[in-house]
């Protein structure tokens, strides 16, 4: 069982500068070559004026705190028995090259169901203008006891 006293523990801020080629690399790695992700000439003539990151690029800039939860020496999660059970993203604006994202997060919940332990991480990402970009919620499941 994971100690409930860690509910509310905060992580971050984590800074991530959005790289043009990294955005493209992620889109292509996930089999999406639509021009608004990779073609600056095309993007110039859209309302965005430049390429945008695919929404799921939030997995890169918006879940860094979750990575720190997994290796947090205080929590001592049993990584061998841990799976990423569920993921939710909510987006509020698009991400463009050069944006500087700051993510802060917390352990939103810890609970048990039968033999399974659940640890829920919630992160919030804002850009250099302070605008909310994305909320991310990751649920990790540890089988057979948390630590």
């Amino acid at each position: 069982m994971v100690d409930h006293k860690f509910i509310g523990k905060t992580y971050g801020p984590f800074r991530y500068e959005i790289g043009r080629e990294k955005m493209k690399e992620y889109a292509l790695a996930t089999k999406d070559n639509r021009p608004i992700y990779i073609d600056e000439e095309f993007a110039k003539n859209t309302k965005y004026g430049d390429i945008i990151a695919m929404p799921n690029f939030a997995a890169v800039y918006g879940l860094r705190g979750a990575g720190h939860v997994l290796i947090d020496p205080e929590l001592q999660l049993n990584l061998i028995m841990l799976v990423h059970g569920a993921q939710e993203f909510e987006w509020f604006t698009v991400v463009k090259p050069g944006d500087v994202i700051t993510e802060t997060g917390k352990i939103a919940d810890i609970y048990e169901k039968g033999n399974l332990d659940f640890v829920v991480y919630e992160g919030e990402s804002r850009n250099q203008n302070g605008e909310l970009v994305c909320r991310a919620k990751a649920t990790f499941i540890i089988t057979g006891g948390g630590s």
Binding site: T30, M54, N56, W91
Partner: protein, 140 residues
């Protein structure tokens, strides 16, 4: 000006299905995704480690499967900026050679031009890779 949005709110009915997308996962997909995402968890790239963890082979990152389901939704709506909310449960491992079909259906039309989709990703034997998935999109 290039218009990205494809389908209009008024053209959509509850029960409509969105076009499916199919992908057969190979080990290289996992290696390329690891590099692109920075997630080098060896169970997705190193068969020896995958076997040590009790799996028959390496398997796809869950977030890779989620991104492909996101692509399927965006293929239908056109404008990536109109995907507002997206949730999945990671339920089945996708091993080399597994073919996953990504699809979805209009579940509900809300005020403010928002549409809720029930979406899914199933392997060739019908078992889910992703389950209980939902997306909220804005349609002009």
């Amino acid at each position: 000006m290039e218009e990205l949005a494809k389908i209009k709110y008024d053209e959509v009915n509850v029960g409509d299905e969105i076009p499916t997308f199919e992908h057969t996962w190979q080990k290289m997909d996992g290696i390329i995704y690891a590099g692109a995402s920075g997630d080098f968890n060896p169970i997705h790239v190193d068969p020896d480690i995958a076997k040590l963890s009790g799996q028959p082979n390496v398997f796809a990152h869950g977030l890779f499967n989620m991104a492909l389901l996101g692509k399927t939704i965006i293929d239908w709506i056109g404008d990536p900026g109109n995907l507002k909310k997206f949730s999945v449960q990671f339920r089945g491992r996708v091993f080399p050679g597994d073919t996953v079909t990504f699809g979805g259906r209009v579940k509900e039309k809300l005020e403010g031009n928002l549409v809720v989709l029930e979406v899914w990703a199933n392997k060739q034997d019908g078992s889910p890779a992703l389950k209980n998935c939902e997306a909220t999109v804005y349609l002009p």
